[in-house]
Symmetry: C2
Subunit: 252 residues, 2 copies
């Protein structure tokens, strides 16, 4: 079931068949379905388990008292919503679906068990946590320094490359099941302005966007326009003989 997670982790580590089976097992215990635009967990709730997105898109968001809403990150298939969140008492933000979502609820004991038995997975989850943090930092840069066109371009690059990492692109295109309002909430722009920026990107041939399908004919060109530097996604890969046992896991 969790092919996407496995595929993602394999960008970093080589997992043995037993590792994969352990992940499959953990993700099969409890599967839940959500409709579009539904909260998976809300601010103030107590997190009880780790959610693994199996299918569909979701997002982390925060709403200010006066209604302004910021999307803090997108969750794509294969993404884990905080593999450790139960250390904290309550959620300081919400997680909601964008499309219909199928997810696996993984109990904390499961996580504990899997990571105890499978050092490669532990190592790979560390990598995934650190990359998630790096993405969050990059969003800070995006919102703080980039212009509208750069922000949107950057976000599209990131999403495309992340989707590619879990096998959800076809050639130079992918699905982009978000509204322009969502894009605005993620980039700190108004929906009207998002619309205009998208037109501009279309007009300069940097993207093709029809319905929910995004095509990026020349990814490098878009990256250039958006000042997108791949390094923060840390997509190097350890050698095939990589063995997590050989390198100690910090904090573990």
């Amino acid at each position: 079931m969790p092919q996407h997670l496995i595929r993602k982790l394999e960008q970093f580590a080589c997992l043995a068949p037993a590792d994969k089976r352990a992940l499959e097992d953990a993700a099969a215990r409890k599967v839940r379905l959500f409709g579009p635009h539904q909260d998976i967990i809300g601010e103030g709730d107590e997190p009880e388990h780790v959610n693994l997105i199996l299918e569909g898109w979701a997002c982390r968001y925060k709403q200010l008292e006066d209604g302004r809403r910021q999307i803090i990150s997108f969750f794509l298939p294969g993404d884990l919503c905080d593999p450790h969140v139960f250390v904290l008492r309550e959620m300081d933000h919400s997680i909601g679906t964008i499309t219909p979502v199928r997810l696996a609820e993984i109990h904390r004991d499961q996580i504990l068990h899997v990571t105890e038995e499978h050092p490669r997975i532990t190592q790979a989850l560390w990598w995934e946590m650190l990359v998630t943090a790096a993405i969050q930092r990059e969003w800070t840069v995006n919102l703080g320094q980039r212009t509208g066109r750069e922000r949107i371009g950057h976000l599209l690059c990131e999403l495309f490359i992340r989707l590619r990492g879990v096998g959800l692109t076809e050639g130079d295109s992918c699905l982009l099941p978000v509204t322009q309002v969502d894009l605005g909430d993620a980039t700190g722009l108004s929906n009207v302005h998002v619309n205009r920026v998208l037109q501009e990107l279309r007009a300069s041939g940097l993207i093709v966007l029809r319905g929910k399908r995004l095509t990026i004919p020349d990814l490098e060109a878009l990256q250039r326009v958006a000042l997108f530097n791949l390094n923060y996604l840390h997509l190097y890969r350890e050698g095939p003989d990589f063995d997590a046992n050989g390198s100690d896991q910090p904090l573990a």
Copy 2:
């Protein structure tokens, strides 16, 4: 030496004397001094150890090719710069000082050793990592949704409360050793505009700022103006009989 770190962690967990000794020991091995406006580690470098700020202010930042610079987070005394960073091959951002800084370089094995022997510390470091991530998310909201005055107000609230947590406030005031350019780089505003916002906050009596000393006569008022909600700092505290052994550590 690492009183600030200990004090910070004690906001969350009760540390035994042995725990504190272990932290003191780890932080005493290798101490380094930096001048102001110096890089501690740069983008592209390979991280070799964990840095613990003992004294002074530093920041994480990222510079775009054309010179635009975003401060991604501030490091205050007691802050750890990524207690796990060596999982990644190279830095995707830089860390630089603001004031002169005294820091402890902690070797990864040290961290490993301390966390193996001291579950309460492990738990507390998890808490600190998660709060760091929450702060990063809040910055995303800050940059994406808040107005200039709200952004600056929010940042000042956050810094004040974090400083208070490590014992570096005196009553309603603290040191704020950053330039207005720095504040601009952190909030995505121009230095000129930062200046005007500060004037405005001063004029409305929300802050007193003379030289490097910031006074917040009415913190709640400033919080209200900045739409600052304390919850993301997770400053509840476990009971005095809290014992990390009783609650499993995830991923460990």
